[in-house]
Each structure stands twice: as structure tokens, then as C-alpha cells.
């Protein structure tokens, strides 16, 4: 009744939300959305590209991962690097030969892994540099050992795991994977992804 139809909404000034609040909103979003959000405004883009934000983002995923993990029962594979796709409820088991530098305790699992899905986009959200330098294709996976400022990525074409250091942006080869299997949330059966067979 009282609204003026002709009023132009786009004239409004952008909401000046404190960075803290923007962080709070962004950590709730899937990585795919973050990737698109880089083109919304400069402030948001700066936040998304900030390694400190990516760290926070991954830690938030970590706690959600922990919650999701409780629902999964693994019969067999796990050992070595373990990861879970949050959005598809799949669990990945990547290698049974851990490099000495990583202990196999609770801190060494990969947080998230996806075959060309949302989380590899988190890598991209951090900056296309990693994508070009290390991943090569969009159908790679990424994970994050909780508590470290590192992300672990691998690509389909070879079986090497790479470690990406968030602070220095350095990529180093970590180890060869000798095995990769995953299970769907429902099936509870361990399968080899096509690219690894």
C-alpha cells in the first residue's frame, strides 16, 4: 500500500558491515559461492583472498566435518589420510603410507576432499595461483589437516599429494598415494574413484 513502485532499490549504498560480521557470514557459505562472491565487491574479495580467512573457513569446516564424521562408520579402509566430502557425505581414504612429517593422530586427517566438487573451490577461493600451479584441473581434491596452516591437495592425473602452505603460498610434493578409496554415506562400501583405478 505505502510502497512507491518507482523507487530504485539499487541506489542504496552498500551496507557497511564490519569485517567481523562479513567473516561470520562467509564462513557459512559453500566454497562455490565464495568463488562467485569474489566479484561482488572489493572488500569481500579482499576477505576471501586473505589466508587468515581461509584458515578460519577451513576450521569451521573442520568442526562441521567432525560433526558429520560421527554419523559415519567406517568398515575398513581408514588409516592414513582420511577425508570427507561435506556436501556429498562421502568419506575418502587416500593413503596408507603417511609421510613421517605427519603423525597419524587426530591432527593429520584431511578435512575435506572432493572430486571436482565444492572444496576444491576453496582452493580457488584462496587464489587462482594454487589452481594453476598445483592442481591443473578442476577435478582435483583438497583437504586440510586440522590445526596446521596447510592444505593437502592432489590431482587426478598423478598420485602425488601436495602440501600447500597457507602463509607462504608454497607448494611442495608430500608423498605418493598408494591407495585411494571412498565410500558414500549410504552404501558404506569402499570404492575406488574411476580416475584412480
Amino acid at each position: 500500500m505505502g510502497t512507491t513502485k518507482g523507487m530504485k532499490k539499487s541506489v542504496r549504498t552498500p551496507p557497511q558491515l564490519p569485517e567481523e560480521i562479513i567473516w561470520e557470514i562467509l564462513v557459512l557459505l559453500p566454497a562455490k559461492s565464495l568463488l562467485r562472491l569474489r566479484y561482488v565487491c572489493k572488500t569481500w574479495r579482499a576477505i576471501i583472498s586473505d589466508p587468515a580467512f581461509v584458515r578460519t573457513y577451513l576450521l569451521c569446516l573442520a568442526s562441521r566435518w567432525e560433526q558429520g564424521r560421527r554419523r559415519l562408520k567406517h568398515k575398513q579402509p581408514p588409516e592414513g589420510i582420511l577425508c570427507l566430502s561435506l556436501w556429498k557425505n562421502e568419506e575418502f581414504s587416500v593413503t596408507n603410507k603417511l609421510p613421517d612429517s605427519m603423525d597419524s593422530g587426530s591432527n593429520s586427517f584431511i578435512l575435506e576432499a572432493l572430486q571436482g566438487q565444492e572444496l576444491c573451490l576453496a582452493t580457488l577461493a584462496m587464489g587462482a595461483a594454487l589452481h594453476h600451479r598445483c592442481l591443473g584441473s578442476a577435478s582435483s581434491s583438497v583437504g586440510h589437516p586440522s590445526g596446521n596452516n596447510e592444505i593437502i591437495v592432489w590431482k587426478d592425473s598423478d598420485r602425488t599429494l601436495y602440501c600447500y602452505e597457507l602463509g607462504t603460498l608454497k607448494v611442495t610434493a608430500l608423498c605418493e598415494t598408494d591407495r585411494m578409496e571412498y565410500q558414500g554415506h549410504r552404501s558404506q562400501k569402499w570404492k575406488k574413484p574411476v580416475c584412480f583405478t
Binding site: P14, P15, L17, L28, L29, R36, L37, V40, C41, G116
Partner: protein, 174 residues
């Protein structure tokens, strides 16, 4: 089983505090509800806000404050139960229904709420509004997000950059 007599609130009357909005409107509310705000909690524990004094909130206008208090009053009983371990499923469903309805509001009101929740440090409300904004963003294209959030349209350079990005990362836009 008789519950132990609670210290405050003699005769069953809960302690009240007065909050004063930026435009000088006074709100009288139960201390338990106002204490959902971390910022206010300390003042209230120190015995402030009672009688004619009132706690001034120079950053929150009356329209926003009344909305914030609506949330606090609704959530205070559950918070008093320590996250309500003994709440029934019906109670929880009712709170959830309330929350959903509560953030179903005009965007300008939503932004005022975000700021108020942040200033007053009301944790539950902070995550509720953050989640609402996140839901508004999810699955939208950059242009749609700009329009939704009221950012100005992109400059030609920004547009070109965005197009290039969409070409390279088409799968992120599917």
C-alpha cells in the same frame, strides 16, 4: 520435589531492567532476557539497569531494540535451562519456527539487527542473522548477489573481469 527458592525474584516477580534506545525510548524487560546480551550481562550482574537508572544503548534505535528484545524474551527461558536439555521437541520446534519467522524481514531491518546483535553480543541472534544473509547469497550469481545486497552495479572493467572469470571457471557458476 520442591525447587530451591531462587535468590532473586521474591514473590515470583522477576527482576526487571530498563534499557534506553538511541532515540530515548525506555524499554522495561526481565533481566534474564536482557542478559542474553554479553555486553549487558556484566552491567546487570553489577546491579545496573534497575529503578530509574536504565542502561543507555546509544547504538541501537527503538525499532531495532524492540525487535532484539522480542528475540531475547522468546529465547530467555531456553537459555536459562542451559540450552534446554529438558526442552521437549515441541518447544524446540516452536523456537525454530519463531526464528524462521523472525528473520523473515525487510533487508534494512535485517542489517540493523546484524549490527545490534553484534554490538550487544547476543550470540544466538548473531548466528541467526548471519545464517539468514548466507542463505540469501547461496546459489546466486555475482550480479544477483550485488542486487540482493544492494551493492552498486559493476563498472565496465569489473564486468569484463567477471565475464572472464565465468568463462574460465564455468563449473563454479553451474
Amino acid at each position: 520435589m520442591a525447587a530451591p527458592e531462587s535468590g532473586d525474584g521474591n514473590n515470583g516477580a522477576a527482576r526487571m531492567v530498563t534499557l534506553i534506545s538511541s532515540d530515548n525510548t525506555r524499554f522495561e524487560v526481565e533481566a534474564a532476557a536482557a542478559s542474553l546480551s554479553q555486553t549487558l550481562q556484566l552491567t546487570i550482574l553489577d546491579g545496573g539497569g534497575g529503578g530509574g537508572d536504565g542502561i543507555p544503548l546509544p547504538n541501537v534505535d527503538s525499532a531495532t531494540l524492540s525487535k532484539v528484545l522480542e528475540y531475547c524474551i522468546k529465547h530467555a527461558p531456553a537459555a536459562a535451562n542451559g540450552g534446554a536439555p529438558n526442552a521437549t521437541a515441541v518447544d524446540r520446534a516452536e523456537l525454530e519456527r519463531f526464528d524462521n519467522e523472525f528473520v523473515n524481514i525487510d533487508q534494512s531491518v535485517l542489517y540493523s539487527l546484524i549490527m545490534a546483535a553484534h554490538n550487544l553480543e547476543i550470540e544466538g541472534l548473531q548466528s541467526l542473522v548471519a545464517k539468514k544473509v548466507a542463505d540469501m547469497i547461496k546459489g546466486k550469481s555475482p550480479m544477483e548477489i550485488r542486487r540482493t545486497l544492494g551493492f552498486p552495479d559493476p563498472t565496465p572493467e569489473e564486468q569484463a573481469e567477471m565475464n572472464a572469470h565465468m568463462l574460465e571457471y564455468g563449473w563454479a557458476y553451474e
